[in-house]
Symmetry: C2
Subunit: 244 residues, 2 copies
DNA sequence: CGTGCACTTGACAGCTGTCAATGCCGGTGG
DNA sequence: CCACCGGCATTGACAGCTGTCAAGTGCACG
């Protein structure tokens, strides 16, 4: 098990001290395994904490009365899942394991102790929440203003960038455990249309599909399909509270 | 000027102590006025703080190279604007005054001092950020999965609920200072279609338009058009840090 | 070797975008 | 006070993207 996992998202903003690292390590002290397709938390459940994804892929989704659903976020190792529901009476999001996963449940109380004892780390939590807002805002731009083809291209680039770097025959590639229905729920389109858009990207030579693997055959061109501005995280902001 | 403004969003989670109130009051100590349609902050600007909206309406938007834009949030008095960009090198959002507005710029350093000195209030800031994520998630659901008519209905109900309660001839109503182009940028549709959807809601008797005023003629039915689950904020969570 | 799930493809319908013209209204200058 | 102007709202006609329905294919798994 990789003990760096719970640090990544926060260490992006500033190097962590030993005290801060210890507090984060403590969050993933106790882990649970869930099998592929199992539901980790249902929407409407009472909220008493968040979930740290240690290994595998997971989805947070929210459903409509009619049975439709929207994928809110695709979670990769290191992600904190279910945090938005901390602000609510009952959970807004269903959390589902896409692959077999390892998860650590973090009681709200534990977060609270970090806020009480480690101000700088608390502010990093705050910044991570703002970072997630930016990601949602970017998705809003895609869903609101870009055709499905660009949304799919954006998703593939996003996933490639978040995963450990990997190549296949010299070309950037990654294994995609999501089916086209899940991708459709992410992009706000229907399965059939996901398939059409995959075909378009493939026919244009931007990607190659080999089983569950996606090869970014023309990475630069694929990126240029996505019309979003580049964003860089703030690093070592001068205004952060002093390190403990 | 209403001095309760900066408290509302945070007091929703817990009653504030005098110390916490004083810290919040300090955030809006110095205010600036901007005229209708003026830009308060441009995307790509360096980020050194956030903006508290004291009076009036404002918009945060993000633009594409081609000139299209997406409205990310419609801000009403009491909102903190531009916080997501705290996580970034350069601002993701343009902030524009819709009406004449009163704004207080809050240096990131000031937020930082709250994190250093007032743990419970810091956690309320964290929860407010999570609340904003829920709002963005709900918008994702609308943009991804619901037709424009429901999106518009949802927007009208959302605005009515956030504004001071008001009636016109016994019916719930509010004044809407946004034009149809701005509403289109919020819903991810084009002006012409905004107009069509207004017509549909009006023809069905759900709303009445009188100049800039929107009357929710059949409020309950209008609400039922929107397919989103009800959400309630958590209040007095047992796990919050102790009050100072 | 059969079964079930996911993926593919085609045909057609419907929602939304695009283009264009008209009307309305408040602000401005004569 | 009135004519003009510009921005916004409104409407119609048509195109294009995406949804819907249906059928067929391929592959993993028992």
């Amino acid at each position: 098990m990789n003990f760096d996992i719970p640090f990544r998202r926060f260490a992006a903003f500033a190097d962590l001290t030993a005290l801060e690292e210890a507090a984060l390590r403590d969050l993933s002290a106790v882990t649970t395994n869930f099998r592929r397709n199992h539901i980790i938390r249902y929407e409407q459940d009472p909220v008493d904490g968040v979930y740290l994804l240690v290994n595998g892929w997971a989805l947070t989704t929210a459903g409509f009365a009619g049975g439709e659903r929207q994928v809110l976020k695709i979670h990769l190792p290191g992600d904190i899942m279910g945090a938005p529901s901390l602000a609510l009476d009952r959970a807004a999001e269903t959390i589902t394991a896409v692959t077999d996963v390892v998860v650590s449940k973090v009681a709200a109380q534990k977060l609270s102790r970090i806020f009480a004892e480690l101000p700088r780390l608390s502010m990093l939590f705050f910044l991570a929440a703002q970072e997630e807002r930016v990601e949602l805002m970017d998705r809003l731009m895609i869903l609101g203003r870009r055709p499905a083809k660009e949304g799919l291209a954006g998703l593939l680039v996003y996933l490639y960038d978040r995963l450990p770097r990997h190549f296949q025959r010299g070309l950037p590639a990654f294994e995609l455990p999501l089916n086209q229905s899940q991708i459709g729920d992410f992009l706000g389109i229907h399965t059939v249309h996901v398939n059409r858009m995959f075909r378009v990207l493939e026919d244009e030579g931007l990607i190659v599909r080999e089983g569950r693997w996606i090869v970014l055959a023309r990475e630069a061109d694929l990126r240029s399909v996505v019309g979003l501005p580049d964003r860089r995280l703030v690093r070592d902001a001068s205004w952060l509270p002093p390190a403990p």
